[in-house]
Symmetry: C3
Subunit: 265 residues, 3 copies
């Protein structure tokens, strides 16, 4: 699979998929910029009146509950439903899962609509699974990453979603597939919304790549490697954000292949 | 006219006009920064309760429907009406015109309030004209730019608006005037919201420059030349956005005059 | 007090306080990034359904009325009330005070809930005091800074808030304490939302520093010194914003102490 990831990056650049984002206020600008940088076309829109039409012209949907409220939750539910009807893939970013009951209730409704992909950090994936599981059964290890993998397996078996757990090592779980990508840099956690950008990029890849697990892997590897390279010459989080957008745009096959730390377990 | 454009740039710096923006979430930050960089003072506000008061203290209004919903459409209509009453110039950015019925209906209402300027890309200007025209009469050429110019002429004759079509060459249409500015760089299309920034900058220029066609030309030239210079040393869209804000702030008369590619047809 | 400011900066880095922000759309991204850069953890959320829960998990609250509307004013009032009940400190940024009646009415309600800190520029602090004072008594000097200091004293005596007046020299007023910090750079006024970032950073410091006046002084000094250093090598407002985030993250004790211009009057 690793050998086909670069091909998928080229496919996104070539096909320039239109990606509809209903995302949070904090990251709208850099999510849109991340999508443009990789060659996709972002649309950020939430009006109930236009969601159905947007679904028919877009190739994928990105939902992110970061700054949710009633109006936006209604938009997200409507968009997820119409995406299902139109057989358009969609990715869910459960920002802050477990932090409040309102987030968890909203996520219950969204997860029930069977996202193609769920991407979050370990604590969000754990919270998402716990809320839907009376007991986190079968988790013997106390290590958070092991627990998060079990949570991801549960979400995958229950809802069919490919689950991507972001962290020092990014883990992608789907059926029998377990992928680990060990790129990135700790400084990336000091820039707001890079997880949200990763989710948006996943949206672009599931829009054009047939095999959705490979799509998630390619998107995740691209984001992590671009961040890793950007961090090498960054003086801090400000220059990291800027150089990441540059690198998402100008990364070469050689850079990608030389940095990729990919394991299919 | 070309010789007076730099003078208008100095006038904005000197008078620091207060520009009221009702714009989309994605670009609020860089629109505000673009206005500050050229020496203007941005106000971003949408509450119905304060629009009338803001109109009385601001010198121009910028409307952008990028992330519209009912609350914001109501704000924009109210702001456009009071701008007319107060004889304050306003510029309309028809983001995504033609993409959804909701956008087109909203734009119908806004265009009917006779914006001083409309700025969009060719497809937006075409969509705006088609929606208001049973048939795009008189368009023989199939070239999009020729069609867009005809659409701009129609919008100008129907609503009196100066129309600015952004693209590789920016075209400004008003009555018998046809201006072409051939600055800019293709990388600018990989940064979200630079069109919206151009619209915001037009707002600052129509606030202080008597001749509104010259105002639009000066704003368009400033944005395109600053982007062109910024792109020369940019590594990608991230550094382009940053250097564009720097250049909008520190551009000199010499740089401006040396780069300007201006044609009055 | 000056000698303990660096210690407070280290304390924020060490304790990584969770700071709840209900702030304006324009600055959400750079406020979140400023908080991450100094080592704090931002939460941006406004849904009425989750404000009470967020108050219980966060150590401080930041309120900023920059792009207020009815929904958000309700969020801010609810958050301020629950912060009082939970004895969590909160800071208020009265953006645009005096510009519209709606802002002034909203600010009356928020100030009555006794913010721990109010931070604004001189004209905002003056407007805030005038709205609450039939007559600006005791102000003999016509100099705006003297008037603003009197206004700050009035707000402090009336509501108990520490008042921070941002400007070329930042002034902090509380009871008998009068602090002046003369760092920063004029170019900072050409970047949108740096005042809002300063307010957000104050939120992080009052979350962990016992002595709230010292907290405000440390936050103000950090922001102004980081901006001053960033401006030295900035080519304009774009690179200033980027380098400021870098410097907030990587500033050293030596840099801080060498630049600090602190006066306790």
């Amino acid at each position: 699979m690793a050998s086909s990831l670069w091909h998928h990056i080229l496919l996104v650049r070539k096909q320039a998929p239109l990606v509809h984002n209903i995302t949070n206020y904090v990251v709208m600008n850099n999510s849109a910029n991340a999508l443009l940088a990789i060659g996709a076309s972002p649309i950020m829109a939430h009006a109930h009146q236009e969601i159905d039409e947007l679904s028919s012209i877009c190739q994928a949907l990105v939902l992110n509950i970061g700054t949710l409220d009633e109006l936006w939750v209604k938009s997200m539910l409507q968009a997820a439903k119409i995406a299902k009807d139109n057989k358009k893939p969609f990715v869910l970013d459960p920002v802050g899962a477990g932090a409040t009951a309102y987030r968890d209730q909203t996520l219950s409704q969204l997860v029930a609509l069977k996202p193609t992909v769920i991407r979050g950090n370990a604590s969000e994936i754990l919270a998402l699974a716990k809320h839907h599981q009376a007991k986190t059964k079968g988790v013997d290890s106390t290590a958070q990453s092991q627990e998060a993998i079990a949570a991801a397996r549960f979400l995958n078996s229950q809802y069919g979603a490919i689950v991507c757990i972001s962290g020092q090592t990014d883990i992608i779980i789907s059926n029998d597939t377990h992928i680990e990508i060990s790129n990135g840099n700790a400084l990336m956690t000091k820039v707001t919304g890079l997880g949200c950008s990763a989710t948006a990029i996943i949206g672009a890849f599931i829009a054009v790549v047939e095999d959705k697990v490979e799509a998630v892997a390619a998107a995740t590897a691209l984001m992590s490697i671009a961040g890793e390279i950007a961090a090498q010459s960054a003086n801090g989080p400000g220059s990291l954000q800027m150089q990441l957008l540059d690198k998402l745009h100008n990364i070469t096959e050689l850079e990608f292949e030389q940095h990729l730390k990919f394991k299919l377990l």
